[in-house]
């Protein structure tokens, strides 16, 4: 019976239950004295505390409490370090600054250096005070590290043997600023005489970065004809490269380079026309995927001997319905499937493809958001699991079909109904007792089921379902409290 009047009732129920996962789910809404009781349930046994410290779904508040209560337990600290949910506050508690130094300097520091919730001041302290190279490398890869921390790091390792490795990571870090990238590029130019390969890979990393300044692209393209192949391959993909530079690379012997050029949206039609007839299917595939294909190019590619070329063409939203019609009769099933997945595919064409001999093509129709009720009704008679999963998933499928599909022996098909955003309450009700725990778990967050429907899931035999159900009700109370 669903009869809770307050958040306190929910917490009391979790306390009465005595289950660590229920306790973890309601911890954030518990009052002070209730929290103590919940902590007793969760942390009394070390085994339970270890399990919660490691579990990927443990709420941040619980992890935070663990970092305060159990910070001398090495096993728990290690699991907290590894847990990606561990909040910044817990990391500060464990690794914050104390008298200008990092509190801990252990082998775990590498885990904190790479953690996505590590506060910036902790990362800065690590860069300043930790000597371990692996830890510094971990900071260089952490996208949370800002340009200032990355700059500090580069200064810290300047003139050392690890500079190149750190600089390469920084060049790949999305937080790297244009200034840092310029500095790394200059270093790469300077060091090229010593190690050509290393210099090239550093410059490639810089040129690839979305913050790479325009002047570096111009600088690189100045020598593009003589540049290392890795640099050429990177430059040719850049839409900022001049047309002149692009044209100078079209005759390259390197098919990977030509593939990059064919995919470059800034490449002029003249070059694309040339690449259309390239001997390498890799290049032609890249051309076939372009959104700006001309009618004559499409006409040429439609009968390409490589089925991947035809498949990319069939997926291309730029092709006309007439082209799709022609490709729908392709001998290769993957091409026909690509037609069925194309958003421009007409109902008439979908109807034809729904009768395809290949089940994977019919499944593409069943998943197609443009499929009509009538088409889905016909596909519901199919025996193939992928087709029926698509029908179950499709928001246009009539409820009476969905009601039939929920009694399928195949869990995948029943799950399709749960994933259907148009599935109604009466359709989903019986799935609340589905034999597969994942299905019950997914239903906790259903928007059409009532709270009274979900309430029994708080006593589900599976701990993950119980946790999710308790967490759902805890969040509801939290939102309600915030609103008042």
């Amino acid at each position: 019976m669903f009869a809770l009047n307050s958040d306190k009732d929910l917490v009391d129920k979790a306390i009465k239950n005595g289950d660590i996962y229920a306790a973890a789910a309601v911890y954030s809404i518990a009052k002070c004295e209730q929290r103590e009781v919940l902590e007793g349930i969760m942390f009394a046994k070390r085994r339970d505390a270890l399990a919660l410290a490691r579990w990927e779904h443990t709420p941040a508040e619980v992890l935070n409490a663990l970092s305060i209560k159990n910070n001398s337990d090495v096993g728990i600290v290690l699991r907290l370090d590894k847990n990606q949910n561990t909040p910044a506050l817990a990391i500060s508690t464990l690794y914050g600054l104390e008298n200008g130094q990092v509190k801990r300097n252990t082998s775990f520091t590498v885990l904190i250096a790479q953690h996505r919730h590590t506060p910036i001041n902790v990362l800065e302290a690590i860069v300043k005070f930790v000597d371990d190279i692996e830890v510094l490398k971990a900071v260089s890869k952490n996208p949370v590290a800002n340009a200032q921390v990355l700059g500090l790091l580069l200064n810290r390792v300047a003139h050392s043997s690890v500079y190149e490795a750190v600089a390469k990571n920084v060049a790949a870090n999305p937080s790297a600023s244009a200034d840092l990238l310029s500095a790394i590029y200059s270093y790469a130019d300077y060091s090229q005489a010593d190690d050509c390969q290393a210099g090239s890979s550093l410059r490639v990393a810089v040129l690839k970065h979305e913050n790479c300044p325009q002047f570096l692209i111009r600088l690189a393209e100045f020598n593009v004809a003589d540049a290392a192949i890795e640099i050429q391959r990177q430059l040719v993909k850049d839409s900022r490269l001049s047309l002149q530079a692009l044209a100078s690379l079209v005759a390259s012997q390197d098919k990977v380079l030509r593939t990059g050029l064919a995919a470059n949206l800034a490449a002029p039609k003249m070059l694309i026309k040339q690449l259309l007839k390239d001997e390498s299917p890799l290049v032609r595939r890249a051309v076939a995927a372009r959104a700006d294909l001309t009618v004559s190019s499409i006409k040429y590619l439609i009968s390409d001997k490589d089925h991947w070329v035809r498949q990319w063409l069939a997926r291309n939203p730029a092709v006309s319905r007439k082209v799709l019609e022609k490709l729908s009769a392709d001998p290769h099933a993957d091409v026909r499937r690509a037609v069925a997945r194309n958003s421009r595919c007409t109902n008439a064409l979908l109807s034809e493809l729904a009768k395809d001999e290949d089940a994977w093509v019919r499944a593409a129709v069943a998943y197609q958001k443009n499929a009509t009720k009538r088409l889905l009704e016909a596909l519901a008679e199919d025996a193939d699991i992928d087709v029926l999963s698509g029908v179950a998933n499709n928001p246009h499928t009539p409820q009476r079909i969905l009601l039939k599909l929920i009694s399928s022996l195949e869990a995948d098909i029943r799950r399709g109904v749960i994933l259907n955003r148009k599935a109604q309450r009466k359709t989903l009700l019986s799935l609340l007792e589905d034999s597969y725990y994942l299905h019950r778990l997914m239903l906790v967050n259903s928007t059409v089921l009532k709270d009274s429907d979900k309430w029994p899931l708080c006593d589900d035999p599976d701990f993950q379902v119980r946790f999710t159900a308790y967490q759902y009700f805890a969040k509801k109370y939290q939102t309600f409290t915030k609103n008042i």
């Binding site: 098919k255 890799l282 690509a338 992928d386 999963s389 698509g390 995948d412 994942l438």
Partner: protein, 321 residues
């Protein structure tokens, strides 16, 4: 002279490859020249398996005529029990499969035989039979011995023992199935996943994609890459649920266990417990993920913190060269 008894496994009248692997494992357990490897096959058309089971290392092939074409736990338990009584083998090897799980434990328990499951090393250490299996969720290897047990039943993990080459002419005998009342019946055979697609439980090299793939169009790039690399493209549950790859390609608790896989490249897969249940046993796992804290790295032999699209581009460049 001692006897090592191997129970061959078949499904829908096709011999399962693990049967030949068991013969290889049995061969390694011969201590003396006169020790015998005896292979038994149970079913309604046992003769059809004679050519496939007449392979190097088999001394005797026993055919047990049973009133069922496919596996039946009661019949198999009664048949193997009678065989053990008759042949008194020191070791009985069964595949670690869903069939064996249906009767091996009761067989061993009822007669008090030594018993170990999912064994991947079996050997004699100073005359003591020792089986090695995983423990604590495959985190440690556990050695199991069987003091005082004259007969030990083991289920052997598939794809561990290399099949011996060459043929043989074993003695072929018939064995009468004891009277047994089966409590179950096979109503229908349902092949999980798409029937015409590749069986991912039998392939050795898998590339697998997860949520990191982003959108459906990107799947095609990885299909191309897998095709060029000679891999089979598989996926985690969300990809199959979205209809981007067939259900038959789904690895994990909701999908399949990739029993024969030797190399598994996980691309953009975070590594939920459910997914890892289908692939954590693979000897070489390569994980690529931008998140260094992704769970998949805890079981990977090689971990690469990188964008899967950069990786795809690099692999394509290398393969194209």
């Amino acid at each position: 002279m001692s006897t090592i008894l191997v129970i061959a496994e078949h499904r829908r009248n096709e011999l399962r490859p693990v049967s030949l692997e068991l013969i290889s494992a049995a061969q390694g357990l011969k201590k003396n020249a006169d020790d015998k490897v005896v292979v038994a096959v149970i079913g309604s058309q046992t003769e059809s398996f004679v050519p496939a089971l007449s392979v190097a290392g088999v001394d005797e092939l026993i055919l047990l005529k049973a009133p069922v074409t496919d596996f039946d736990p009661d019949i198999f338990e009664a048949a193997v029990s009678a065989l053990i009584t008759s042949k008194t083998p020191t070791v009985v090897l069964l595949p670690h499969s869903v069939d064996s799980l249906g009767y091996a434990a009761t067989l061993a328990s009822k007669a008090g035989y030594g018993f170990a499951t999912d064994v991947f090393i079996v050997e004699y250490q100073a005359d003591e039979l020792v089986a090695t299996r995983g423990g604590y969720n495959q985190k440690v290897n556990v050695e199991v011995d069987f003091p005082g047990k004259a007969t030990v039943v083991m289920t052997i993990r598939a794809s561990v023992f290399k099949v011996l080459e060459g043929t043989a002419s074993p003695i072929i005998t018939n064995f009468d199935l004891p009277a047994v009342q089966s409590r179950s019946q096979n109503k229908e055979f349902i092949e999980l996943g798409g029937g015409n697609d590749v069986d991912i439980t039998t392939v050795e090299f898998i590339m697998s994609i997860g949520r990191g793939i982003g959108e459906e169009t990107n799947v095609e790039q990885f299909r191309e890459l897998a095709e060029t690399a000679g891999a089979t493209l598989c996926c985690s549950r969300p990809i199959a649920d979205a209809g981007w790859l067939p259900k038959s390609r789904q690895v994990g608790q909701s999908g399949k266990v990739v029993g024969s896989c030797k190399l598994y490249v996980a691309l953009g897969i975070s590594g939920s417990i459910q997914h890892m249940a289908g692939m954590k046993h693979v000897p070489t796992i390569v994980a690529v993920n931008t998140d260094p804290g992704a769970s998949i790295f805890t079981i990977a032999k090689y971990g690469i913190v990188a964008d899967i699209f950069d990786m795809e581009e690099e692999l394509n460049s290398q393969l194209a060269a």
